[in-house]
């Protein structure tokens, strides 16, 4: 803090003592002051108060308040950034962060919506492995943040929320401050956050803040909420306060029980057709290397569900295109951090009568290693249908992998090695055939307009393949063409989807990911669905304002295509034809000009591109600008999927 802003100690102590009495003296006639002290006085019409000179003892400034200490605590946790839409209930924290804290570590990221703040944190964490701090109003701000927090919950990604609130009714300004106050502020998100607290003192705040961080970073990861009461933010630090910031421990990750890991190794080694399915398995760069090591020892099929980049896309043992076939043939299925194991073992028919069928062999053994079993909640059903599992190892799969690899290596004998090699050759041939098939399939509709998603992804790949790139958006809406055509072998090259599938994730999470990539000098690209961008379009301004370089390539199919297909299904079921299925599901009339919107937000907007021949020059132009530090949006009018 600059020296000129700091009153001398003597005056500060004097002011602390004088605060309440002085404020009351200003607000009400002198005779009533003792009965009705008010910290934030109501500006009632009172001619005496309005015309009289201010009371001599009225404290107008103070040196240091609780929010300064709160910023000390936040800084101790190592956040690089704090994202927020400004709000009065954390005005004390806001001011302390930018002045007392110097707006560094964390730096304030200005967001136009709390859903953007949280989703940015979602994407940021999946690249950096560190959480983002988010400030929000306790009531309306957290209400805005809810869906993004739910996405993060489903995706097992932590975001550190600090929300403002005023519990003491006598301290609230009339009107809006009451509307923005809530008795149990975190209740609205308690079903899909890991922990919350409403500290009653600054020391309590410090301890709960550090506790929250430790809890969120212990797998399974989950968001936390700390309520920073506004009066505690704004009041002076009590004179006799002996505040200290507790230690943040190093968190040792939960590993699988040794006997269970040994049994898993034995079953894997002896299986004829083992399949390993990896979902949200990879947290760090070593995860993929370990999975490759295990796969290569066993020469077995790996199915990457694209929850993260678990297995290099071009590794010959990557059998993700044939997931169902391998599961159906397997005698052992090992799932790593599965969000929905049941769905991998069964098929489900979305007919008038919804039916399901077990596709795995009846006698196939199933093993899961994952943190999902360590922490589950009831209300929201993201835990998915109960799967028949023979051995459930409640542990962090990535942390367990080294022991599993060693156990497997010890058990494999020479005869098995030969059998494994033969198995691996067949799998490699499958992989090669699938890749060739994908390349061939990509040629269909090559010159068509709207542009095919295959052409879109092939053109983007051609421009980035020699860069250090990171794809920060989901790929399901572009038919997984990146996984089918690109070489992905680094964890930051793909970070999975939004978890809860709440629309609005991609735009903000990709900017959050780009923020993390910026310090590593990586080129961030996103395949941005149009409906998703419309949910949180203000994030374009945040990217512009904070100079976050990202190439956002629109997958602009001018509609909510998944929903269009759902309405088609219903119309066909009812034998009514589908000529009205576009009602409520399309964004065609008028077509939205995203390039112009981008320009209006202060970023470079190119397009709309409708002729596939114009794609390469537009992408090339965009990438040159992104490499110079600019965020760029290229609008491409595309086919549905």
């Amino acid at each position: 803090m600059p020296k000129k802003d700091v009153p001398n100690e003597k005056r500060r102590r004097f002011l602390k003592g004088a605060t309440f009495a002085g404020a009351a003296a200003l607000a009400v006639p002198r005779g009533a002051a003792a009965q009705a002290p008010a910290r934030n006085p109501v500006p009632l019409p009172n001619r005496v108060a309005e015309t009289a000179p201010p009371a001599a003892l009225e404290p107008l400034t103070l040196g240091k308040s609780g929010s300064d200490f709160m910023v000390d605590v936040i800084k101790s946790l190592g956040f690089e950034y704090m994202a927020a839409n400004p709000a009065s209930s954390f005005r004390g924290l806001h001011e302390s962060l930018i002045n007392y804290g110097g707006n560094k570590s964390p730096e304030f990221l200005t967001c136009s919506h709390e859903e953007i703040s949280v989703a940015m944190g979602h994407g940021y964490f999946k690249i950096e492995g560190k959480p983002l701090c988010v400030f929000a109003h306790g009531a309306v701000g957290l209400q805005h943040a809810t869906m993004a927090l739910y996405n993060a919950w489903c995706d097992r990604v932590p975001v550190y929320m600090v929300i403002g609130n005023i519990l003491d009714a006598t301290m609230r300004r009339p009107g809006v401050e009451w509307n923005h106050t809530v008795q149990d502020a975190a209740a609205i998100v308690r079903d899909y956050t890991k922990w919350d607290d409403y500290p009653a003192s600054l020391q309590h705040y410090a301890e709960s803040s550090v506790r929250a961080y430790k809890i969120m970073m212990t797998p399974p990861h989950g968001s936390v909420v700390i309520v920073a009461d506004a009066t505690m933010q704004e009041d002076p630090i009590p004179e006799n306060a002996k505040l200290r910031i507790p230690k943040l421990p190093q968190v040792a990750l939960p590993q699988g029980d040794s006997a269970a890991v040994a049994e898993t190794a034995r079953l894997l080694v002896n299986a004829e057709s083992p399949v390993i399915i990896a979902d949200r398995y990879a947290r760090t760069p070593t995860a993929s290397k370990h999975l490759v090591a295990l796969a290569e020892v066993l020469q077995c099929a790996i199915v990457d569900t694209s929850g993260r980049l678990n297995m290099p896309s071009r590794h010959p043992l990557n059998q993700s295109s044939r997931a169902r076939g391998h599961v159906a043939q397997a005698d052992l299925i090992l799932g790593l951090e599965m969000s929905d194991f049941w769905n991998s073992l069964n098929s489900f028919k979305d007919g008038i009568h919804r039916t399901s069928r077990h596709i795995a062999k009846v006698n196939a053994r199933t093993i899961s290693i994952g943190c999902g079993d360590l922490y589950t909640k009831s209300n929201y059903q993201d835990f998915q249908r109960y799967a028949d599992i023979d051995l459930a190892i409640a542990a962090d799969a990535e942390a367990t992998m080294p022991e599993l690899i060693e156990a497997v290596k010890k058990l494999v004998n020479g005869e098995q090695k030969a059998a494994y090699e033969a198995r691996g050759k067949k799998l490699a041939a499958n992989h090669h055939a699938d890749f060739e098939r994908s390349r061939f399939d990509a040629t269909f509709g090559w010159d068509d307009s709207p542009i095919t998603t295959a052409r879109l992804c092939a053109e983007l790949w051609a421009q980035i393949r020699n860069e250090d790139w990171s794809l920060a958006s989901p790929t399901s809406q572009v038919s997984y063409w990146p996984q089918r055509l690109w070489t992905m072998d680094k964890p930051y090259q793909f970070i999975g989807d939004g978890g809860g599938m709440g629309i609005g994730y991609a735009a903000s999470a990709s900017v959050g990911a780009a923020l993390a990539n910026r310090s590593h000098g990586r080129l961030t690209v996103a395949l941005q669905p149009d409906g998703d961008l419309l949910m949180t379009i203000g994030v374009l301004w945040t990217a512009a304002h904070h100079k976050i370089p990202i190439l956002s390539v629109m997958h602009n199919n001018r509609g909510y295509h998944q929903e269009l297909m759902h309405v088609q299904r219903m119309a066909d079921r009812h034998m009514r034809g589908i000529d009205r299925a576009h009602i409520g599901t399309t964004l065609r009339d008028p077509p939205i000009d995203y390039a112009k919107i981008a320009q209006g937000m202060g970023i470079v907007g190119i397009g709309p591109i409708t002729d596939p021949k114009d794609l390469a020059p537009a992408l090339k132009q965009g990438i040159a600008l992104v490499k110079a530090g600019e965020p760029v949006l290229v609008d491409v009018v595309t086919q549905g999927r």
Partner: protein
């Protein structure tokens, strides 16, 4: 692969069945009208505007350049063997189906893979 997105991919897989097909078993269809129907009646939602497919991670939805007998084609439309939505006579007449079939049959082959440099391995 998240199956919630791949459901449609699974749904239409049987379109890609069928080997030995001849277009000559089909009633005469109007390819131009078939194109209109193909685009308007939702075929293109899942199969793409030129039957290229889409929606899933593996093969299955591509119907262009697939040898499909007309009988199998109309049977799949009326009584899908999988999750594809059914198209009854009242919604899509036999002549409409013939027109769509003609459109699919008339689709030109895609460009030679070798001619597309950026798809080179």
């Amino acid at each position: 692969m998240k199956i919630v997105h791949a459901g449609f991919a699974v749904a239409f897989a049987s379109f890609a069945f069928g080997a030995c097909a001849q277009a000559q078993d089909a009633p005469k269809g109007d390819a131009a009208k078939g194109k209109q129907l193909f685009l308007a009646d939702g075929c293109s939602y899942c199969h793409g505007t030129v039957g290229q497919g889409g929606g899933g991670r593996g093969p299955g939805l591509r119907i262009a350049q697939q040898p499909i007998p007309f009988a199998a084609f109309i049977n799949q439309l009326r009584q899908p063997a999988n999750e594809m939505p059914p198209y009854v006579e009242a919604v899509l007449s036999e002549q409409d189906v013939a027109d769509i079939f003609a459109y699919i049959q008339a689709l030109p082959p895609p460009p030679d893979l070798k001619s597309i440099g950026i798809l080179a391995n």
